[in-house]
């Protein structure tokens, strides 16, 4: 971040305590993950030793093996990957499509319908888990992954966000030109509009992915059999055998967090930019 304004001495210097404060904040944010790794790689005897170990032990594969014996954890990770990817991609495409319609297409009731989309954000739907469960029962979707995916595809905030981006980045002239060349509405969206707003759709999908990967309450309610568990529910299942080995739930947590840490190292800066750019809703 550089300032284009002339530099003044008063503001120019970053004081040492600023770095101390930020360093402390960064350490607080990173330490629990480091600790997760330490406990996930040491056996119970070492993990409960005081003073605690500060270097990882060599017990990771032993513990990971125990995790796999207790719950089908690889399956759980694959389930999480499948659900989170479906939700991330689905949200990005559906929201871009609806955002495009609201920003660039002309149809009766457009403004009213958009207002309704925005108003739906104020309905706290998470509080109605009991009727949601009854609906899943009726549909025969209890204990299936589509019970997680299909409801997760709708995002009012995503539509709002994509509409803003499409309005701001795509000129009507460009779309008119494409139409004159004979492109239909779908082609205008898919060939011209979507490629332009793909970075914004990607960030939206990324947040959808992370939220879906970390979701707990709804999967906990709707999933019954261990081979359908997502990684988060598998962690809970590991915890039930907490007294078997202290490191077990921790190893599961570690295994479930690693994919997101890798993802974050690769594209975290775009998530940061996404928040700074549009103030994402949690």
């Amino acid at each position: 971040m550089t300032s284009t304004a002339p530099r003044r001495r008063h503001l120019g210097r970053v004081r040492w305590w600023t770095y101390l404060l930020l360093g402390l904040a960064a350490a607080i944010c990173l330490f629990p993950l480091y600790w997760m790794f330490i406990v996930a790689t040491t056996d119970t005897a070492t993990a409960t030793k005081m003073p605690p170990e500060v270097v990882p032990g060599g017990n990771f594969f032993h513990l990971a093996g125990l995790v796999l014996e207790t719950v089908p954890f690889v399956q759980a990770l694959l389930n999480s990957l499948f659900v989170a990817t479906a939700i991330g991609v689905g949200q990005a495409v559906l929201c871009a499509l609806a955002g495009f319609a609201f920003a660039k297409l002309r149809f009766p009731g457009r403004n009213t319908l958009f207002l309704i989309v925005v108003l739906t954000m104020t309905v706290p739907t998470q509080l109605s888990v009991i009727p949601q469960y009854l609906i899943m029962s009726e549909l025969g979707w209890v204990d299936t992954l589509q019970a997680l995916i299909v409801p997760g595809l709708a995002s009012a905030f995503g539509i709002f966000w994509m509409r803003q981006h499409i309005s701001a980045t795509i000129s009507d002239e460009l779309l008119q030109a494409a139409r004159i060349d004979g492109a239909g509405t779908w082609q205008v969206f898919w060939r011209i509009a979507f490629p332009i707003v793909r970075p914004a759709a990607f960030v939206l999908g990324l947040f959808g992915f992370v939220t879906a990967w970390n979701d707990f309450l709804w999967p906990f309610i709707v999933l019954k059999s261990p081979e359908r568990y997502t990684a988060q529910i598998a962690i809970k299942a590991l915890q039930n055998s907490y007294d078997v080995d202290l490191g077990l739930a921790m190893s599961g947590s570690f295994l479930a967090t690693i994919p997101l840490v890798v993802l974050f190292v690769l594209v975290g800066r775009r998530m940061v930019a996404g928040i700074l750019d549009g103030a994402f809703k949690g």
């Binding site: 300032s3 960064a26 949601q132 202290l246």
Partner: protein
């Protein structure tokens, strides 16, 4: 923030009328493009929401009968000490997590906004790491760190002569533990939200104040805080609505009695109470009544927020 979330329907005026013959096709496509959202929201959002109010009027057993009992679930709830206990725990955990979270975020956003900060991206990314860590993993690692016998925190406290604290088993201890998890997971995210608003303040405003002799504290107090007022109210509301839905942390820390979060329900939150009644006891009617109570609280908070923000606008 609350204002930026409102639509500006006139912002993007429709393109000039398309040539005749294309209008119908375009309209149909438009409705097709927005239909998925409305269908999904109607089926999985609005209908269950409305249905909660209906189920709450029944003695509803998922594998038994459904008997209409009017407002009995609500009379029962108001007389149920477990409900008030859960409500009290929820408010306590909410206060313990929201206040430090927002204060910390304010200070961090202020220092992160410095124009010549080095490694700014590293710090910004670091504070977002907790957000990508799941609540379940957070609960597991913090429960271990705060463990009575094997926890790092109690070991450190022991070095200065403090007796081991059994965080999970005590009321205040379990609240502090859950609030710590919530704060850890969200303060960085909130910091970035504040930073986003702060970056909209022209740098020249800060510079002019500095030239006039304002120190760091005055800059913080008289520029940063007023500039952030709308987003602060927004985050108070979102953290309150989030606070009412705290569920995973209490479920995972009390391994002995997860559904009540401890033997004496010392850390059972309202959403956990809803789950216990609905899916532990199969009292769908009573559980839905708790859901309605939560909704009323959300509306009350939104109303207070509305009053506060109009008052602030009037002050300006």
């Amino acid at each position: 923030m609350t204002t930026t979330l409102l639509p500006a329907p006139s912002a993007a005026l429709p393109p000039p009328a398309s040539p005749r013959g294309r209008g119908w096709g375009e309209r149909l496509s438009a409705y097709a493009y927005i239909a998925p959202f409305f269908v999904l929201f109607a089926v999985f959002g609005l209908f269950p929401f409305a249905f909660t109010f209906y189920v709450a009027l029944f003695d509803w057993n998922p594998i038994g009968d459904q008997v209409f009992i009017g407002v009995d679930n609500f009379t029962r709830m108001f007389a149920d000490p477990r409900f008030w206990n859960a409500a009290g725990n929820t408010v306590s955990i909410w206060a313990l997590s929201t206040v430090p979270q927002l204060l910390l975020a304010l200070v961090l956003a202020h220092v992160l906004n410095h124009a010549r900060l080095r490694a700014a991206l590293f710090f910004r990314m670091s504070v977002l790491v907790p957000y990508i860590t799941s609540v379940a993993a957070t609960a597991v690692v913090f429960a271990q760190l705060f463990d009575r016998d094997y926890g790092l925190l109690n070991w450190l406290l022991g070095l200065v002569g403090v007796e081991p604290i059994d965080f999970v088993q005590s009321t205040w201890g379990s609240h502090v533990l859950i609030a710590t998890m919530v704060t850890w997971r969200w303060f960085g995210y909130t910091t970035l939200l504040y930073l986003a608003s702060l970056q909209a303040v022209p740098r020249s405003v800060f510079e002019a104040a500095a030239i006039d002799g304002a120190g760091p504290w005055q800059l913080f107090r008289h520029i940063t805080v007023p500039a952030l007022r709308p987003v602060i109210i927004f985050t108070v509301v979102t953290s309150t609505i989030g606070g009412l839905q705290i569920f995973t942390e209490p479920l995972l820390i009390a391994t002995g009695a997860p559904l009540t979060c401890g033997a004496v329900r010392q850390c059972q939150t309202l959403t956990l109470f809803l789950y216990e009644q609905g899916f532990g006891q199969f009292e769908f009617g009573y559980g839905s009544a708790i859901g309605v109570a939560l909704f009323v609280m959300v509306v009350a908070i939104a109303a207070v927020n509305y009053l506060l923000s109009t008052r602030i606008k009037a002050d300006r």
